[in-house]
Symmetry: C2
Subunit: 138 residues, 2 copies
Amino acid sequence: MDELRQELKIRGYRLTSQREAVLRAIYEGACTQSVEEIHERAKQWLPSLGLTTVYRTLELLKHARKVQEIYLGDGKVRYEPILETHHHHLICQVCGKVEPVEGCFLSPFEGATLVRNGFQILGHRLELYGRCRDCQEG
Amino acid sequence: MDELRQELKIRGYRLTSQREAVLRAIYEGACTQSVEEIHERAKQWLPSLGLTTVYRTLELLKHARKVQEIYLGDGKVRYEPILETHHHHLICQVCGKVEPVEGCFLSPFEGATLVRNGFQILGHRLELYGRCRDCQEG
DNA sequence: AAACCTATTGAAAATAATTTTCATATATCA
DNA sequence: TGATATATGAAAATTATTTTCAATAGGTTT
């Protein structure tokens, strides 16, 4: 949270109770949350928090690389915190649950440039789809 | 296209000029296209085609596993055809261009079950972010 | 080929998510 | 504490997507 304070100061932004509430909601909530869910959770600490402010704060945190967007196929964008531990997702195609998996064999390629077309790789995202234990029949 | 005809028949759907136009637009267009783009392209062959029908056809093709959704962070969902050749994407963070990359070392894990939590992997998606050749300074 | 029946279509209306506007409130700094 | 520019909440506006419904047109049967 202190780190955030620094980040904001550097960029000329202000640290407000709204921003703290949204950030806390993101970090304490599920792996991925919709804007509505983040809003609900954050209102625990700050009941007067407006939905518009949640949208604005998420935009801010996205630029500050504190959160990441993820789209699961229903009409709404979800957000998750960018943690120190790089991870990917297991997405159950039956119940929709999202679980994180740590460990990644792609990290060594960060910074690499592909010979075929000169594309320089700076990051990646991997989503594994399938069925969680609870959703396997038989 | 004949394959599609079969697919539709099996499911009790009809093969209409609209559906053919949308499918053709998807296959002949860029790697990923927005609904609006698909609509514009398809109107070349069928000017009377309505946007609603494009949405409906994409939903149909999604269920028939002919197309896949992808979200690039602007507010709209994009679609791409599911081709026989499994591939992933190189997404330029500067200009937004999307290029396909073939070859995938994750395929052997399809069907595998993770020991840690019993999750059965059935498919995956990998997106590589970075800078395309044209967008690298220096 | 004509008739039938049901799936499909286009346009407009409705919805849902997200963004913009604007007057008010409040962090931050002198 | 006061000045000031940024941030906020509510409402309005916008944008993407879905639903409604009367009209159309596949595909099958005769």
